[in-house]
């Protein structure tokens, strides 16, 4: 796949520095610390776009329902999709998806607490992008570090489940600010918890006014349809 894409990024060793070496030997740089990752992320996007694939990065705490959503979406999204599975070192989640007939590739994250663009690029070598329309990346279950890494997807989907509480948006502002879509999952459990959608909306609006919020439950077909519709909205437009 990558023979002609220059993915080793050898040309990128020349940092965009602006050498102003003076007597005090001070060098002004002004350079993004995660620049290398960001370049690789852009490179991943080029792979997706060359194959007309829209890519989505799913992030949440462990257990918020990322894998479950990907299992269920199958019946609602009339698009062919593959999953790059980064949650957990074992291939349990990938196996769950494969059992449903969904193509999934398990990233070997070791003990990593987030995926970076290089790990996703590695996974792209194992997925045939040609026949698919959508690629989901299930990130490591963690509301902190994955927010700092662009992995080369087009949109960020952040899940927050009802049992986690509506205060999490305020507690993890970086993650929720980077979201394009926030899914409040396990809404069927709402009656058992003091969870306020109104409070969620209020916190989210202060931090990320343009975000879309969809309350979902895998037991409510309409809610999963709403997610499928949101995803389909982006077909073909990059």
């Amino acid at each position: 796949m990558c023979q002609d894409c220059g993915c080793s990024l050898t040309d990128h060793s020349n940092l965009h520095s602006n050498p102003q070496l003076n007597d005090t030997k001070t060098l002004s740089v002004i350079h993004k610390i995660l620049d290398k990752n960001d370049h690789e992320a852009q490179h991943n996007r080029e792979h997706f776009e060359a194959n007309n694939v829209r890519a989505f990065n799913l992030m949440s705490s462990p257990g918020s329902g990322k894998t479950t959503l990907l299992e269920h979406l199958h019946e609602y999204l009339p698009k062919k999709y593959a999953v790059i599975e980064g949650d957990l070192e074992t291939s349990r989640d990938a196996d769950r998806l494969i059992a449903k007939g969904i193509e999934a590739y398990q990233v070997q994250t070791g003990s990593a607490c987030h995926l970076d663009a290089f790990m996703v690029h590695q996974a792209l070598h194992h997925i045939d992008l040609k026949p698919i329309d959508v690629c989901f990346v299930e990130n490591v279950g963690n509301l902190v570090c994955p927010a700092s890494y662009d992995v080369g997807t087009h949109k960020n989907i952040v899940l927050l489940s009802v049992p986690e509480g509506d205060d999490k948006i305020e507690k993890y502002p970086v993650m929720f600010r980077r979201a394009d879509l926030v899914l409040i999952t396990k809404m069927d459990l709402a009656e058992h918890f003091d969870f306020s959608l109104v409070e969620c909306r209020k916190q989210l609006e202060k931090l990320n006014p343009d975000v879309t919020l969809i309350p979902v439950s895998v037991k409510d077909a309409q809610s999963i349809t709403a997610v499928a519709n949101w995803i389909q909205k982006y077909q073909g437009e990059f």
């Binding site: 070496l21 005090t24 030997k25 001070t26 002004i30 995660l34 902190v144 570090c145 202060k206 931090l207």
Partner: protein, 115 residues
């Protein structure tokens, strides 16, 4: 704990810049850390102090400038530095704003000893 991965990226950049400028030692590293960059400053400091030992930064001091959130309002066009973690314009209360600083991690300056 992605602060370790971030310090590794930072060190890689510094090693490259040191090499490009024939420096054998880095004395000071100035970085800018946005309040909404997702990095915990003290964890970053610890990671830097642990990692630097076997690098060109072994005696370097890390200077961290904490960058508050800065927004520009699309309605009243005011530019404001915020103390709160939200993006609402304090002048006109509009939500129609653009974040212009406070979300990035940048390497700003290096002080080095050239050979």
């Amino acid at each position: 704990m992605h602060e370790y991965s971030i310090v590794m990226s930072l060190m890689e950049q510094i090693e490259q810049l040191a090499q490009d400028n024939n420096a054998n030692e880095i004395i000071r590293v100035d970085i800018k850390v946005g309040v909404l960059s997702g990095v915990e400053p003290h964890l970053l400091q610890n990671a830097f102090d642990t990692f630097k030992l076997n690098t060109v930064c072994h005696d370097a001091q890390l200077n961290m400038q904490l960058q508050p959130l800065v927004i520009e309002c699309r309605q009243c066009h005011h530019k404001t530095e915020l103390t709160e973690r939200n993006v609402i314009c304090p002048h006109c209360k509009s939500y129609d704003t653009r974040v212009i600083d406070g979300e990035d991690m940048m390497l700003m300056q290096l002080e080095m000893n050239a050979s």
